[in-house]
């Protein structure tokens, strides 16, 4: 694989960029792989990458029904943070954040990880207490977060209305290491690295069945034919229930639409990510200048990648109140993704009732930030049969009553 660098770009520039190689190959599927990952989203690709990098398993196919990165990985608002309340969450998200910090170098692909800082506004006393609890928990987890006052907030985010008539800003939970990354680049960077290790990223290939021999997986059926494997990782987010049904089990997942929108681009005005959970909206400014805005989920099951407009309305209404100047910006585009919500809104990284099948799902509205950590843990689970990072995220926790509930600290999952 030809390495990317400023020199390579300069060299190529002189010959009109005719010498660049493909970022990833487009192979036809082999008959059999050691491991098949279904779903070439961030989590699936990262799983494959760490299978190869950490565990030396490179006879791997990543099978994608559409184009790689076209699921939620390609349509999320890119918020990255690790200031989670519960220990298992903080552990995996912080692992992810640490990996993000070096990901561009690791992958030799600039994923534009931008640790510009992230703030969660506290707008009720209840939220203040919830976030103070998080700050305290984070201290013991080794995750640096701090509490900032309204005045400090105003300095960090001048366009913020801190004394809105309805929900004055009482303070905020600030994680300086938090931020954003270029979502597509994360998928592309991993895909390129996987391909370079000899893995097959197979696009436009839908898995239509899971083949078993007794209780052991032996392969999948796809629109490009049957492919055999020893181990199967299902990493298909919103389509998890569909895949699980093919394999003959159920998961505590519901698929709903989550929406986002961008404004037209304006000059830089907000150098930090702000989440306003009381009023249900969050916003950051992309490197191109658009305000990237995320909102709420529909409350009904939906596989259409289109949400209901009233969520857009609620979000925009709330953010106009929080950032009054955006009233005179225009919405450029809105879209939706199908997110996979579990019973406690925390992810599942787990063995399943079928031998050889592993599942990684349930990231719902907030799994972009987890991609490297999740891939790391899932790879370990698939390679070794257990992973400390994944330990608590098994799928049987619901029957045991052992929830990992992040909503308790007035928080949300994005």
């Amino acid at each position: 694989m030809k390495r990317y660098s400023v020199f390579a770009v300069a060299r190529e520039g002189l010959r009109y960029h005719t010498g660049w190689e493909r970022a990833w190959r487009s192979p036809t599927p082999k008959k059999k792989y050691d491991a098949i990952i279904v779903g070439a989203g961030g989590h699936g690709l990262a799983t494959a990458y760490y299978l190869g990098k950490n565990h030396g398993i490179t006879n791997v196919a990543i099978i994608e029904k559409g184009w790689l990165g076209g699921g939620n990985t390609g349509r999320n608002t890119t918020i990255i943070r690790s200031n989670y309340l519960q220990d298992p969450s903080a552990a995996i998200y912080d692992k992810a954040l640490k990996l993000y910090e070096n990901l561009s170098q690791d992958l030799n692909y600039n994923v534009m990880f931008s640790p510009r800082g992230l703030i969660m506004l506290a707008q009720t006393h209840h939220e203040v207490r919830g976030y103070q609890r998080t700050v305290m928990a984070n201290q013991l987890q080794g995750v640096a977060t701090e509490w900032v006052t309204p005045q400090q907030l105003k300095e960090i985010v001048p366009i913020l209305n801190i004394d809105g008539p309805r929900y004055p800003v009482l303070g905020g939970l600030y994680q300086k290491r938090g931020g954003t990354a270029r979502h597509d680049a994360v998928a592309w960077g991993y895909a390129r690295a996987c391909s370079a290790m000899g893995m097959d990223v197979i696009q436009q290939c839908e898995v239509t069945g899971v083949r078993r021999d007794g209780n052991k997986v032996i392969g999948v059926s796809t629109t490009k034919g049957d492919i055999d494997c020893d181990k199967l990782g299902m990493v298909v987010a919103g389509h998890t229930s569909v895949l699980a049904e093919m394999a003959g089990f159920r998961l505590p997942i519901e698929s709903v639409a989550l929406q986002a929108l961008v404004s037209e681009p304006i000059k830089p005005c907000m150098d930090v990510v702000v989440m306003a959970n009381t009023v249900h909206g969050y916003m950051s400014q992309s490197d191109k200048g658009e305000m990237v805005i995320g909102g709420g989920t529909d409350s009904f099951n939906n596989y259409t990648q289109r949400g209901s407009f009233h969520h857009i309305e609620e979000t925009v209404r709330a953010l106009v109140e929080t950032f009054p100047i955006i009233s005179r910006l225009k919405m450029l585009r809105q879209w939706g993704g199908i997110v996979d919500m579990t019973g406690d809104r925390s992810p599942i990284i787990s063995k399943t009732p079928v031998d050889g099948i592993f599942v990684n799902c349930g990231w719902g509205t907030g799994g972009f930030k987890a991609i490297p950590g999740s891939g790391w843990a899932m790879a370990e689970l698939m390679a070794k049969g257990h992973s400390p990072l994944a330990e608590e995220f098994h799928m049987y926790r619901f029957r045991e009553g052992k929830f990992i509930d992040e909503s308790v600290a007035a928080g949300v999952a994005h």
Binding site: I253, N301, F398
Partner: protein, 109 residues
Amino acid sequence: MLTLHCPYCGIQADETELAAGGEAHLKRYGPGSSDDEFETYLFMRENKKGVHLERWRHAYGCGKWFLAARDTATLEVYGTYAAQTSEPPVEVKAAIRAKHPGWTWKEQA
């Protein structure tokens, strides 16, 4: 932006007048049930890509719960019906089968 017909008021209600309540026709398992039964009852949703029988409340209207047969892939609504029933009415089943010929209801499968 869905609209659903409220079988009680007879109006075509806007999605924003309704509250969604998840999968319908669940059997409640209480004390004495097995771990499996209880887990299935509370967590293991069908989450079908396709025909979905589900609960809705006409929250801003008559306040009544009703059930709907809706396609989660196309958002087509095959019918709505009263909540006080343990299975979809024949005409709703027929409407579903008109689009999904092989469709069977879970209790009959």
